[in-house]
Symmetry: C2
Subunit: 413 residues, 2 copies
């Protein structure tokens, strides 16, 4: 493989995670140390930054500040949700991208995102090839939802899982303080895949786990739910339930949408919590049991709580970024970095490369056989899968009691 000299361009895309910046740092640091890469550039707000010529030179930042990327949640370089049209349909954006790549001599393009972003990578790569502009394109996965195919897991999931499991363990402790009935319903993200709701079951490592866990992989039925809850309440005073935002009934209707019906029947009483899934389930459980039921939605916290990140996740995210740059420098293109683990024995994260086209526009859900038969709890295989991913506490990088985030100069390229 001939050496390809030129600039690299890095972008972040899609919803942020606690460790997406670790991957960015893995790319930036490795690229700065790679001889054939002449400049390390970044596009603010992903592909939109390319289209807007909003390109910055990461090589001009203070290395000590760049290292703080490791401990900083969210997408520091800026993200976007911009879907490229097919080039056959409209090649305006592609022509602009080519123009920018030529302007900065971009020969390496690294894009960090979910499956939409891998689709973007793939389209750009094809257009560059067709235009005879040699540019190696590698995708780096990220998503708290853990729903990318062809990879054992995704950077970002472990930290979200750790935050959810830890917070649920804490809420269970809180729910147990009074010797009277307490019911709490907690909502996690996950529209189509229940990996995050499932992570709440890891709370049992600290003691008692959640009473019931509901994933979108199993059809949800309100009457069955009431029966599940009543059965648990007969044995326990404190009931903490976790559900994925995406749980739906047999007609495919999201349970969170039931809230608007409830609103019509109870609005004259005021004070009712309606809206999201937690609030909807809390309201319906209150109506069913007469007990006080509290709804909690983890909301954005679960994807940005870097103060509770998994060290394993943070390190793997870094290594994914590093592997992308090393693979491209060695000649790879049209690939995404993916993770594998040994089929047996101790957990270890193995980096590999898969074709971008294999991962774009597909979705991985939790295997049904990892969920109990009743569809309201997790089985051992899920624990075996998820526990290694939440291990380790990152080094404390607080300053004056608060997280120390990087101070960046954002020098235009």
């Amino acid at each position: 493989m001939s050496e390809l000299r030129g600039a690299c361009l890095i972008g972040q895309s899609g919803g942020p995670t606690s460790v997406i910046n670790s991957s960015a740092y893995g790319m930036i640091k490795t690229a700065l140390e790679t001889r054939c890469i002449t400049r390390v550039l970044a596009a603010r707000h992903g592909i939109k930054g390319v289209l807007d010529d909003h390109i910055v030179d990461m090589g001009k930042e203070d290395p000590a500040e760049l290292e703080l990327f490791l401990n900083t949640p969210s997408s520091l370089i800026g993200s976007c949700r911009y879907k490229l049209k097919s080039a056959d349909e409209d090649d305006t954006d592609y022509r602009r991208i080519l123009e920018i790549f030529k302007k900065y001599d971009v020969r390496y393009f690294f894009y960090n995102g979910g499956n939409d972003s891998m689709d973007t990578c793939s389209k750009i790569s094809k257009y560059m090839q067709r235009s005879c502009w040699e540019c190696r394109v590698i995708g780096v996965p990220k998503t708290i939802d853990n729903d990318l195919v062809c990879t054992d897991h995704c950077p970002g999931f472990g930290s979200a899982a750790k935050y959810i499991a830890t917070s649920v363990a804490e809420v269970i402790k809180d729910a147990e303080v009074y010797d009277k009935e307490t019911i709490v319903v907690i909502e996690t993200m996950g529209r189509h895949a229940g990996w995050l709701a499932a992570a709440s079951s890891l709370a049992s490592v600290s003691g008692r786990g959640p009473a019931l866990v509901y994933l979108p992989e199993v059809t949800f039925d309100l009457e069955t739910f009431f029966r599940d809850v009543d059965a648990y309440r007969r044995e326990h005073l404190h009931t903490v339930i976790v559900a994925s935002e995406g749980i739906h009934d047999r007609d495919g209707r999201f349970i969170s949408e039931y809230g608007s019906d409830l609103a019509k029947t109870v609005d004259s009483f005021g004070h009712h919590q309606l809206g999201g899934l937690a609030a909807t389930l809390a309201q319906s459980l209150h109506d069913h049991t007469g007990a006080k039921v509290r709804g909690i939605e983890f909301s954005l916290l679960q994807r940005c709580a870097a103060h509770c990140a998994s060290k394993t996740d943070m390190e793997e995210a870094f290594l994914a970024g590093k592997a992308a740059v090393e693979a491209a420098a060695a000649g790879a293109t049209d690939k995404m970095v993916a993770f594998a683990r040994p089929e047996s024995g101790e957990y270890r994260c193995i980096m590999r490369l898969i074709d971008l086209t294999d991962v774009a526009n597909a979705e991985k859900t939790v295997p049904r056989e990892w969920i109990n038969e009743a569809g309201n709890g997790m089985l051992q295989p899920y624990f075996d899968y998820a526990l290694p991913l939440i291990q380790g506490t990152p080094e404390d990088k607080t300053e004056n009691g608060m997280p120390r985030y990087p101070k960046l100069r954002w020098i235009p390229a």
Copy 2:
């Protein structure tokens, strides 16, 4: 002062905090080391455990497990919200308490709670004196609300403040990722005092702080709020607002109650978030701006997130428990442990004792002069006050990636 030999009885009361168990450990450990204290007992679920003769022997627990109290949120021994009647009105409960105190030879009673609990302490102490049962009674403060009088601050506040400031800093990072308008409204606890909402301003130590902060100490007006938000939005793309659940209008009506009115006007559209303050403000801001507005309620998380505790708070909570036992052993009674700090120079927490009757049934709010004139942000004196309280990260006590909580045997006394 003659030496008083006998058992001590420890109870936890009111809403839990991240460090209330540090105080319990301070009491238990010190009592176990105190010669005149013959047994270290605890009442499950506070005064209710006394009435129910649900008394356990903490001296029979494994010391290594007891040490894990330091890292465990919520009230491990169990809490209650039980208000004793005046003894003149009905002395049934008091006679029962005396009976239990005699049964176990309780000569030291330590009660850890907020101002209601100090009232309980005071009443019990007076009844014991009247009944000629020598028993020294000391209160240990706790509350995330930080609203106890006669003390510089309360154990529990520093950790809640740290969790809120850290999480708000992270949500601000998350809100900034897209180059399009984002508005987030965050609700903290604090019905009458705004100490916790104010803590969100500490996020500015990590970078940008919240756009606007609203406390119950200042009358809230919806039109002024819209003007505040619009002014900020003219200069910024991302607006993160924090408000205390207790903000109210000039008629004293909680803004969170506005939600039921809004429900009537929008229920036919479904999907609207109604209920708590965050949801109510998010809905009204959406109606005002047309922008997507996300509401986040920290809910129970802010009082149980021990994974983000302040080391300073944890240590002070321990020392408060220790000071209570030492003071009682030295002869003090009818006191609450309180904190002071030097009037100038470096922060230091000074333990002192105040009369129980001085603290019961009073409430300390945030000084108006620590809030800016517009009533939507905090001034330097608040930072000077609060920053020392969130310092330090406790030792990592996770096991298999999750918090390690004590395994207790709860041996009946």
